[in-house]
C-alpha cells in the first residue's frame, strides 16, 4: 500500500513540476527580456485550456490536434499581445502592469460570459492506469509529465543552440549592450511572447484534462510560477527547472501530512528563509 501511494505521489510530483516549469519558463522569459510582470500569464493559461476544450469537446476535433491548435491560436495571440499591449510601453513597468491587469479583467469576464462558470474539463488525453509491482500510475499524468519535459528540453535547446535564443540570453543579461550589437529587441520579444503564450496554452490544456476548467483556474498556477521564479533566481534557466522540481515535490508530498493551505503557508516560510540567506534566489547569480 505504502509503495503504491509513494509511486503515485512521485508521478504526481513530476507532473506538477513539469507544469510549473512550463509556466515559470514563460513568465521568466517575458520578465528577463521585456521587464514585464506578465500577470496575464494566468488568463492565457486559462484561455488555452478553454480553447482546447472548445475544439475537442464541442467541435469534436482530435484531442491531440486540438492541443496543438490551442497552442498555435494562443501563440498568435501572443504576437498581438507583444505588438499592441506591451511594445508601446516598452520599459515602463507600471503601464505594462496595468495593461496586464486589464487583460486579466477583460479575458476573465469574457470567458465568464461565453462559457459561464460551470465546471468543465478537457477530454482526457490518455485515459487508463498502469499497474505493476503494487504501483498504479495514471497514464494521463505520465503523458503530461513527458510532454512537459519534452517541451522544456526543446525550449532550453532553442535558447542554447539557435541564434535567436542566444539573442534572448544576451538581452536578458544586458539589454542596452545587446541592442548596441544590432539585436532587434522587439523581434526577440515577439518570439519570446509567442513561445511563452504557447507553453502556457499547452500547460492549460493538459491541466484542464487532469483538473477542472474554470475562469479563475490560472491564479493558483501563476502564483506557483512566480514562486518558482523567485526560488530559482532571475536569469537562470537551469534554476527554474531545479526550483520547479523542488516545488512540485513539496506540493505533492506535503499534503500527505498537512492541509493544502498549510503547504502554501510553509512555502512562504521557505522562501523567506532563502531570501534571508540568498537574496538572488537559489540558483541566481545577481540580485
Amino acid at each position: 500500500m505504502v509503495p503504491g501511494l509513494l509511486g503515485q505521489v512521485a508521478v504526481n510530483a513530476l507532473m506538477l513540476a513539469s507544469m510549473y516549469i512550463l509556466m515559470a519558463l514563460g513568465f521568466a522569459l517575458l520578465l528577463s527580456i521585456m521587464g514585464v510582470l506578465n500577470f496575464a500569464h494566468a488568463v492565457i493559461y486559462m484561455v488555452g485550456g478553454y480553447i482546447c476544450y472548445q475544439l475537442a469537446a464541442v467541435y469534436g476535433i482530435n484531442k491531440w490536434l486540438s492541443l496543438v491548435l490551442s497552442a498555435v491560436i494562443v501563440g498568435s495571440f501572443g504576437l498581438f499581445l507583444e505588438r499592441f499591449c506591451y511594445r508601446p510601453f516598452f520599459g515602463d513597468v507600471n503601464r505594462t502592469m496595468v495593461m496586464a491587469l486589464a487583460l486579466i479583467v477583460i479575458l476573465e469576464s469574457t470567458v465568464n460570459i461565453l462559457v459561464g462558470s460551470y465546471v468543465r474539463s478537457v477530454p482526457s488525453f490518455a485515459p487508463g492506469v498502469i499497474r505493476g509491482g503494487g504501483v498504479s500510475v495514471s497514464v494521463e499524468r505520465l503523458v503530461t509529465f513527458i510532454i512537459g519535459t519534452v517541451l522544456m528540453i526543446m525550449l532550453i535547446l532553442f535558447i542554447k543552440k539557435t541564434k535567436i535564443g542566444q539573442q534572448m540570453l544576451a538581452i536578458s543579461q544586458e539589454s542596452i549592450g545587446a541592442v548596441l550589437q544590432g539585436i532587434n529587441i522587439h523581434r526577440v520579444s515577439a518570439v519570446a511572447t509567442v513561445i511563452a503564450c504557447a507553453l502556457a496554452a499547452v500547460a492549460g490544456s493538459l491541466m484542464g484534462a487532469i483538473t477542472n476548467l474554470n475562469p479563475f483556474m490560472g491564479d493558483q498556477m501563476l502564483v506557483k510560477a512566480i514562486e518558482v521564479v523567485i526560488l530559482a533566481g532571475i536569469g537562470s534557466i537551469g534554476g527554474v527547472v531545479g526550483a520547479g522540481l523542488i516545488l512540485g515535490t513539496m506540493d505533492s508530498f506535503l499534503p500527505l501530512v498537512l492541509s493544502g493551505c498549510a503547504t502554501d503557508a510553509l512555502g512562504l516560510g521557505i522562501v523567506i528563509l532563502i531570501l534571508l540567506f540568498r537574496p538572488q534566489g537559489l540558483f541566481g547569480h545577481e540580485a
Binding site: L31, G35, L37, F39, P88, F89, D92, V93, N94, R95, M97, V98, M99, L101, A102, L103, I104, V105, I106, E108, S109, T110, N112, I113, F216, D219, V223, I226, E227, V229, I230, I234, S259, C261, A262, D264, A265, G267, L268, V271, I272, L275, L276, P279, A287
Partner: protein, 332 residues
C-alpha cells in the same frame, strides 16, 4: 498667481469634504451609501499602498494586510468581547507587526522582484488565515460584533447595528484622518527620504540613509492603515471570508492606484473613486460590467501615461510656458 491657485484648491477641497458630509441628506438608498462606505475604505487602503510605493516598493499583496487587520480585530472582539473601538487600532497594529516581520527579509529584493515577492507573501498570509480555522472559521468568520453604541454629548446615543449612515460618518472621519496623516508623513522628512530611496537607493545609502530601515518603516506605516481599514470593514460587514483579501483583490488595489496615477497624492483617491463607482453605475449589465472596467483601464494606459491625476497635471503644464514645463515622473 500661485497663492490664488492654492486658495482655489483648498476651497475646492473644503467644498468636497462638506459635500461628502452632507451626502446622506441627498442619498437615501442604503445600497448607494454602502458603495460610498466601501469606496472610502478602499481609498484608505490604496493611499496607504501609495505610501509604500513612495519608497520604491510596489507591493502586490496589500489586501492581505487588510485581512490581517480585519481578522485580528474581529477575532479579538469576538473571543475576548472587547469593544471594536479598541480592537480596530489593535488590528492596525497587528497588520503593522506582520509587515515588520515579513518586511525585513523583503528588503533584500528591490523593484520588480519586490513586487513578485510581496505578491507571494500576501497569498501566504491569506493561507495562514485559512489554516487557523479554529479562530477564523472554516468557510468564513461570521457573528462579528458591530461597532458598539457611543454617546456623544449633543447628539443622541448613536447605534451602529443595522444602520448605514452612522457607519458612513465613521468611515468618512477615519478616511479624512488617515489621508491627513499620510499626507503629512509624505511631506515631512521621512517622506523625502522615501522618495530619495525610490530614485536611487545607492545614492541614498551613500549619504547615510538607512535604506532597509526606511523601507520597512514605509511598509509598516502603509500596512498599519490598511489594517485599520480592514478592521473597520470587518466591523461594518460583520462577515469575513479569506477570499476578500487574496490574490485578485490585491491586484485590484494596485490597479486602482496605477489608474489613478501613483505620482500624486490625489491619484489613489481618484482612481479608487472612478474604478469602484463607475462599474456600480453599470450594475444592470451584470457580468458585462467588468468589461467596462477593462475598457477604462486600457483607455487610461494608452491615453494617460501618468494615470488620471497625472494627466490633469500634464494638461495644466500644457497651458503654461514651454520653459516652465515640469518633468513628470511617476513615483515608482
Amino acid at each position: 498667481m500661485k497663492v490664488k491657485g492654492k486658495l482655489v484648491k483648498s476651497a475646492a477641497l473644503a467644498a468636497l469634504v462638506i459635500l461628502l458630509f452632507l451626502l446622506p441628506l441627498f442619498v437615501k438608498q442604503p445600497y448607494y451609501i454602502h458603495v460610498f462606505i466601501v469606496t472610502l475604505l478602499y481609498i484608505i487602503v490604496v493611499s496607504s499602498l501609495r505610501t509604500i510605493a513612495l519608497s520604491g516598493q510596489l507591493s502586490v499583496g496589500h489586501a492581505a494586510f487588510m485581512g490581517v487587520g480585519a481578522y485580528f480585530s474581529a477575532v479579538v472582539a469576538k473571543e475576548l468581547g472587547w469593544t471594536p473601538w479598541f480592537t480596530i487600532p489593535l488590528g492596525g497594529l497587528a497588520a503593522m507587526f506582520a509587515a515588520v516581520l515579513i518586511g525585513y527579509p523583503f528588503t533584500r529584493v528591490r523593484a520588480i522582484y519586490f513586487s513578485m515577492v510581496s505578491l507571494f507573501g500576501g497569498i501566504a498570509i491569506v493561507n495562514i488565515i485559512r489554516v487557523a480555522q479554529k479562530w477564523t472559521g472554516a468557510a468564513g468568520l461570521s457573528d462579528i460584533p458591530p461597532l458598539s453604541p457611543i454617546n456623544i454629548p449633543g447628539l443622541h446615543n448613536i447605534v451602529f447595528l443595522g444602520q448605514k449612515v452612522p457607519y458612513y460618518y465613521f468611515t468618512l472621519l477615519l478616511t479624512l484622518f488617515s489621508l491627513l496623516v499620510l499626507y503629512r508623513v509624505e511631506h515631512c522628512r521621512i517622506g523625502m527620504t522615501w522618495k530619495s530611496i525610490a530614485q536611487s537607493h545607492l545614492v541614498a545609502s551613500s549619504v547615510g540613509v538607512n535604506e532597509g530601515g526606511f523601507r520597512v518603516l514605509a511598509f509598516a506605516v502603509g500596512c498599519f492603515f490598511a489594517g485599520i481599514a480592514g478592521a473597520s470593514y470587518a466591523h461594518y460587514n460583520l462577515v469575513l471570508t479569506p477570499g476578500t483579501f487574496s490574490f485578485l483583490p490585491s491586484i485590484f488595489l494596485v490597479m486602482y492606484m496605477l489608474v489613478g496615477g501613483s505620482g500624486s497624492f490625489a491619484g489613489p483617491i481618484i482612481g479608487t473613486a472612478v474604478l469602484v463607482i463607475v462599474p456600480e453605475l453599470f450594475r444592470s449589465l451584470k457580468e458585462f460590467s467588468p468589461l467596462i472596467l477593462g475598457a477604462i483601464m486600457v483607455m487610461v494606459v494608452f491615453l494617460m501615461p501618468q494615470g488620471i491625476a497625472g494627466s490633469v497635471e500634464q494638461a495644466k503644464s500644457m497651458f503654461r510656458q514651454p520653459r516652465q514645463r515640469e518633468v513628470h515622473r511617476s513615483v515608482t
